[in-house]
Symmetry: C2
Subunit: 184 residues, 2 copies
């Protein structure tokens, strides 16, 4: 089955999500409109609404995709918390628009079942690696929050261009050194 301008159904959804990621990367999520997206993707202005309902629906789909990608990236670290932390930073740098949407409250439907499921999966992978941390046991909630905070903070400061000039220009190298601090 094909739709407007010969896109296959799934390809059009993909093209719209990719175009949304581009717009957000250039000018942030506030600037995004479904009408502009349709123009960018070269489809009828009704196509985005058909696929996503409204702007929050589209951003919800981006958030789900982001948490799925993040969970898969963390999973590939195979339970190594240091590598999972580096993977978190790598994800944020490579998928800047997803990362911004995922952590901007009010932009999307955070209680959508698909969001909750993807976010829970990502959280579970991160928590799985926390058992490897040295230190007092029985503090795994606190340790998971500390690990999440340090990688989220590093990624956010990196994306903001806020880090001092002496920082290693490779975000993964710089992140690995910082995260290692938790293991000392």
């Amino acid at each position: 089955m094909t739709t407007t301008r010969g896109y296959h159904h799934g390809d059009l959804r993909r093209a719209l999500l990719d175009a949304a990621g581009q717009v957000i990367g250039e000018s942030g999520p506030a600037a995004l409109s479904l009408r502009d997206l349709a123009r960018r993707a070269g489809v009828s202005h009704a196509a985005p609404a058909h696929h996503f309902g409204d702007k929050a629906g589209l951003l919800t789909a981006l958030a789900v995709e982001g948490f799925d990608l993040l969970a898969a990236a963390l999973d590939r670290a195979g339970g190594d918390l240091l590598e999972a932390g580096v993977a978190y930073v790598r994800f944020a740098v490579a998928h800047r628009a997803h990362f911004e949407v995922m952590f901007t409250p009010g932009l999307y439907r955070a209680d959508d079942p698909a969001v909750v499921a993807a976010r829970t999966r990502a959280g579970a992978v991160l928590r799985g690696g926390v058992a490897a941390l040295p230190g007092p046991s029985g503090e795994s909630d606190r340790d998971a929050l500390a690990a999440w905070s340090i990688v989220h903070g590093f990624a956010t400061l990196w994306l903001a261009g806020a880090l001092p000039p002496g920082t290693d220009p490779d975000p993964e190298v710089a992140a690995r050194a910082v995260i290692r601090r938790l293991f000392e």
Copy 2:
């Protein structure tokens, strides 16, 4: 000397900065316009341009004020890194609009001398506390970045409403437990 509607000169500047903080808190910095600000503050639409030049000028003033407030807050911790970290989180929660502007690249003139001076001062206070961390010496740059990452990440996740339901409802209590992880 008084200006439009009887504001004293400095008070009008203050009123415009406060109104800007309110708009950013409600709808983010993208939604801000100098014309709306003038309407909110009940002054002529030329007044914001007179004080700040343009929107980037106003956001630069907010960023300077933010880094100054942050440096003062960190300073009050008296070299105690744990308390400085808690003060960082307290600042972010209390001055959400400033915090958002300070760490959003491209919104303001980050190379403005007043921004550079205020940011450098805040950074110096944070680094001053890092010497107190246990662990190998000679790693103070790395340790400062780790401390900054953990408090920035915690504050950002808190403001995004992203933390898990079991987290202590008092951000300072929750932050203190997380930051303490760096000292173990």
